[in-house]
Amino acid sequence: MAPLRRRRVLNTAYRLLYIGQWLAGVVAALVGASLKADPVSWSSKWAFAGVFVSSLQNSAWLTLPGLTLFLGVAQLARSIIGPAWVWDAVHQVLDLFRGRVFRGEAHDPLHYHRVTLFKHVGWRWCLERWPWSGWLVPVERSAHTTRTTKVVFRAPDQADRSEGVAGQTWSRNKMVVATGLPNLQAAPTDADFLDYSTRTWVSVPWLRREPPSARSFAGVPVEVKGKLWGVIVLDSRGENAIKTKSVTLYYRLIAPFLGKLLERL
């Protein structure tokens, strides 16, 4: 499943795990309390109670360790997924950034000008070479469309093999800007593909598989607590819609909030 689309599933899983942890805690407390109870005296008060207490006592050897294990695993899973409210807030920050940088393109559809947050991961489940290379995976994007993307970029330790504007931004730890790119949607020539490929660090076969609509990109490194965490990539169908000054000006406004939010993930 596309990383961005998976977000909704993960948010639901986060909430369910939270509820599950509460239930597991309550049940574990009940089972623990039942160990000291006398089933006979309970059954004299309510007919079913004695049976209930007995069954809790008899299964305690399994339920207590099982529930404790579930609590630990659920907590680990939730810490990996990250709170849903944090992801919602990150999305809003990206929307705000997009709205400011592309203020002049307000009449265009939202997906013509986008902001995507990529996280650097050391491992990724895939059949490509190699799963452990080091990758930039999209984890959040502005607006509500084009979220089924499966595009990821290599960002390995061997920095010469970094892919895309995202990979170059990561390996250089600087802002990278590419504007005035050829239009690959309108009868592109071989020279157009080659030019686009050279200026965006992706191969020509990669471009030919699914020619991108974007004609300008900007990559900005993202830090959390002083450490490089990932990158943000702005892409636009406008040749010159990305203005470097706007990107740096508005990024300086959102970066402190973004960093604090990403600390929670």
């Binding site: 250089r172 730890n173 600087k174 802002m175 990278v176 800007v177 590419a178 504007t179 030019d195 050279t198 200026r199 900005v220 490194p221 830090e223 607590k225 002083g226 450490k227 470097t244 000054k245 740096t248 000006l249 990024y251 300086r252 970066a255 402190p256 960093g259």
Partner: protein, 151 residues
């Protein structure tokens, strides 16, 4: 501890110049990371330390480590980013050796940054160090004004 002086606002967009590079005959635009460009600087004497301190303020905060540059100069370097966050000059030790602190201290600061930029890990942060040095040079008078009250 004396009250630190007010921050002097900088213009990050002017400090971070766009660098055009050629790759395989193609023009590329590479800019300094926004995290490496300070938005303010200040200089003040801290009597509890006995040192004159120059501090840079960036977009985000970070813990720093001390790095002794020489017997009079200590640098504050970001623990993760290796960014230059501040410089401490030992005025007590220095005053015994030099006649004019007002002239000497700014020079020491610039030289300390110059030496830092030549160290092995420096290439990844050379832009940050260059910008820091440019700021010290361009705002020298305002930063070191408070030295007169200390000497």
């Amino acid at each position: 501890m004396s009250t630190p002086s007010r921050w002097l606002a900088l213009s990050p967009d002017k400090l971070a110049s766009e660098n055009q590079q050629k790759l395989r005959g193609v023009q590329l635009n590479i800019l300094v990371s926004p995290y490496d460009v300070p938005d303010a600087v200040r200089g003040y004497y801290d009597p509890s330390l006995g040192r004159f301190v120059v501090e840079f303020r960036y977009m985000t905060e970070e813990k720093w480590s001390q790095k002794t540059q020489d017997q009079f100069v200590t640098l504050r370097i970001g623990r993760e980013s290796k960014r230059l966050l501040g410089i401490e000059i030992d005025l007590n030790g220095l005053s015994a050796q030099t006649v004019s602190l007002r002239l000497h201290v700014p020079q020491l600061v610039e030289q300390a940054i110059e030496r830092l930029s030549k160290e092995p890990h420096a290439p990844s942060k050379e832009d940050n160090y260059r910008i820091a040095k440019d700021v010290i040079t361009s705002r020298r008078k305002e930063l070191f004004d408070s030295l007169a009250a200390v000497i």
